[in-house]
Structures are given as C-alpha cells and as structure tokens.
Amino acid sequence: MADSKQDQADKLKAAGAGKAHGHVAKGHVASGDGQTRRSFISWVVVGWAAFAACMGGLATITMRFFAPNVLYEPQQTFRAGAVSEYAPGEVSTRWKSKFGIWIVRLDDRVVALSTICTHLGCTPNWLASEQKFKCPCHGSAFRMNGINFEGPAPRPLERHKIYLDDEGIMVVDKTVSFRQERGQWDEPESFVAV
C-alpha cells in the first residue's frame, strides 16, 4: 500500500481545486471536472427516469395505434319498415345478415332483437318449427322473446332501441341496448307498442 486513504482523498481534492467552479463539498469525492459522486448519481437517476418515461410513452402510443378511429361497419341505425309489414307472432330474418337484427312481433309489441348470442357471440338460427333461436356454436337456445332457456348462454339476447319516426316507420338504433336482466325491457324506447 503506497498511499493511505487520506493521501488519495487529498490528491483528488487537489485535482478538483484547480477549476473555477470546482467547489467540492466535504466528504464528496470529485473527479477532474467537478463532478461529485452525488451529482453523478442524480444524473443517472434523471437519465433512467427520462428513459423510462420515453419507454412508457412509446408503449402508450403503441397501444393507442391498435385502436383505429374509423370503423367500416354497417350503419348502426336503419329504417325497418312499418309495423304492418310484420305479421303477429313473426320472427323476421329480413335484417339479419345486413344489420344483425331480428324484428320480432310479440303479442303487444314489436322488438329489435340482437343476433349476437350472449354466450360467446356466434349468430343463432331461428328454427320456426321449434319456435326457438338455436346457436350452432355451443347449443344455447332462446325463446322468441329472447329469453335464454338452453345451453351455456348466461342471459337473454339484448334488445335494441326501436321507435316510430314522423312517417310512422320503425327505426332501429343499435347504439342503445336494453337488457332483460337489468330490468330494461319495459323502458319505452325498447319496443314499439301494437
């Protein structure tokens, strides 16, 4: 051991003292350019924090990139014709493939049933002979009014907003839905009375 610890510290101090702003707090080892260990470490922290912030920002905008602003899906509202075009007790598949809606004329009302199975989203088929909607994916079935009674579907089919416009034509608005299990099927916008 040629130098004692004290000798080394003195040498380093001497090296730092030559600078104009080489102010060195007691007990902090300075390198030639006035950098102390403390300032070095705080720069490292700032640097890593900045890097982490950039990466976080990048991750955020990457996720945002995956959510498009414009969708090319069928119109969410459409005119479904007059009530008289649907016979009592009829399940109409007229708008099924275009808009994903069954117009169902029940005893006292016309409703717009969603064609999306409440299990995992397949499209059930209306089986007129058995008077039920049957889903080909896992066998859920729904009655004409949309109530589930068979298979894994946990809740009834959703109904969408339906109302009469100025000319007495029914308009379906798919952006609004009504769920039986939430007690929404009696809300006035969920059906057109007959």
Partner: protein
C-alpha cells in the same frame, strides 16, 4: 498415380485459404480436436461438448422439447412458403387456401403446416408434462419453467391466430368465440369484472371500442381488420417473440446445469 493425385487434391482443398477461413480448426482426430471443433462452430456450439449419459436417453426427455423446436422450424419453413400464395384479405384468403390445396404445386406444404401446427401444440404440452413428471422445474430451473410458460402461451397464440387465416366458417366463428373471451378480461374487457370501477360518472372508460377485444381485432367484430391483424401477428410478431424466448430457454437449459438428472 491417380490415387496420389486424389490425395494431393484433398490435401490442397483442406489446406486452402478458403477452407481454413471457414473452419479454423483442422479435422478433429482426438477429443481435444472435437472439442475445439464444437466450440468454434456457431451451429455446434449450441450443443454442450459433452453430455451426461442419461440426458440423451429417449426415456428421460422423450425429446419433446427438441421435437417442439423441430416442429417450429418446419412451421417456419412451410409458413414462409405459404406466404408467397396466401393474401390476407376477405376477397382472397379463402380462395387462396383452396388454391393451395387444389392447384398450387407442392400445395401439400399447407397440409404439412397445419399438421405440424397441431403436433407442435401437442408436443409442447407433452414436453411440459415430462418436465413436470421428472421434477425438472425445481431449483435451479424455476426460471426456465417460467420461460417455458411464456413459450407455451406463444405456441397457443400462434395456433389461435393461424386458425383464423383460412377464413372459412369454422375459422370465423372459432375466433369470434375466442376473441369474445377477451371481452371478459378483468378491467380491460368491456364485459369483464371490474370495468364498472373504471368509469367517470356515467361514462365507462372501457367500452365496445376501447377494450382488449377491440385492440385485438381492430374492430367490433371479426372482419377485414381482424384478418389482416391476425396475419401480421401470426407471421411476424409472435414468431419473433417466440424465437427470442426459445433462445433464452435453450441458453438457460445449459446454464442451469444441462438436462436435469435423476436424484
């Protein structure tokens, strides 16, 4: 005379500048030579220079990890070939797949790809099973088990995304069902538990066009967007990530002391 010329030729060949630039060490004639050969060759260095005897026993590893990797290579090769014919659009996808079967020369590549895909999923499960049964997940291999779980996930994700590409009824409805499960993710799926907590007043932060399912499909239902997205995930994104984890996996097998042994 001819014999001598032949010998001369090979001697000149192996002694040539080109040969020596590729193979630094000479033909291995002893253990040290073989060792040097393995260590100085990129492809051979992936393997240890020596192995415990039990590690090469089929009875112990079933070679299931190796088979998984082999199938992955088969899938990469045939998959890249399929990319030369298959177009991921609603107009073409289904017909291109039919064409691959009916008219494309060596269209059997598609069948190989599909069979290998099924086999790889099976092989990975069996590999996991044997690792479990031999207790090879125990220290010091816990971390590699976790890497393995990531690999299993990506194997299944590759299988799932590839499933949509033929664009037939089975594909569309299977992915409809599968992606609807994403809508049930806690907090980030619109029908998942906890979404109600992520709302301000009456406005839900996570909805039909902002949940995990939407990010996955790029749409509210399976359509052109989802097909293209799954294609890119399937052909580029997931294989790259899987390769990355495989590299770490294999490296860790070595660093954790090679194939585990009977206690």
């Amino acid at each position: 005379m001819a014999e001598e010329e032949k010998k001369d030729f090979w001697a000149r060949f192996f002694g040539s500048y080109i040969w020596k630039s590729i193979f630094r060490v000479g033909i291995p004639r002893d253990r040290r030579g073989r060792l040097m050969q393995v260590l100085s060759n990129f492809f051979l260095h992936l393997h240890p220079v020596s192995l415990p005897k039990h590690a090469v026993k089929l009875k112990y590893t079933w070679c299931m990890g190796g088979l998984s990797f082999f199938l992955f290579i088969v899938l990469t090769f045939t998959g890249v070939l399929l990319m030369f014919y298959y177009r991921p659009t609603i107009e073409y996808a289904y017909n291109d797949v039919i064409d691959l079967r009916e008219t494309t020369p060596m269209g059997i590549m598609r069948e190989i790809h599909r069979w290998a895909a099924h086999l790889m999923v099976i092989a990975v499960w069996f590999h996991m099973f044997r690792v479990f049964m031999t207790g090879s997940y125990k220290a010091p291999r816990e971390f590699n088990w976790c890497i393995g779980v990531v690999l299993l996930t990506f194997t299944l994700l590759l299988s799932f995304t590839g499933y949509l590409l033929p664009w037939d009824q089975l594909a569309i409805w299977a992915i409809t069902v599968g992606s609807n499960m994403a809508a049930a993710t806690p907090f980030v799926g619109q029908e998942g538990p906890g979404v109600a907590l992520l709302s301000i007043g009456n406005v839900n932060l996570i909805g039909r066009t902002s949940d995990a399912r939407f990010l996955l499909l790029g749409d509210t239902s399976i359509g052109a967007g989802a097909l293209l997205r799954f294609y890119v995930f399937h052909c580029v994104f997931f294989p790259l990530i899987a390769v990355f984890f495989m590299v770490v996996h294999f490296w860790r097998v070595r660093k954790d002391g090679g194939i585990s042994g009977p206690v």
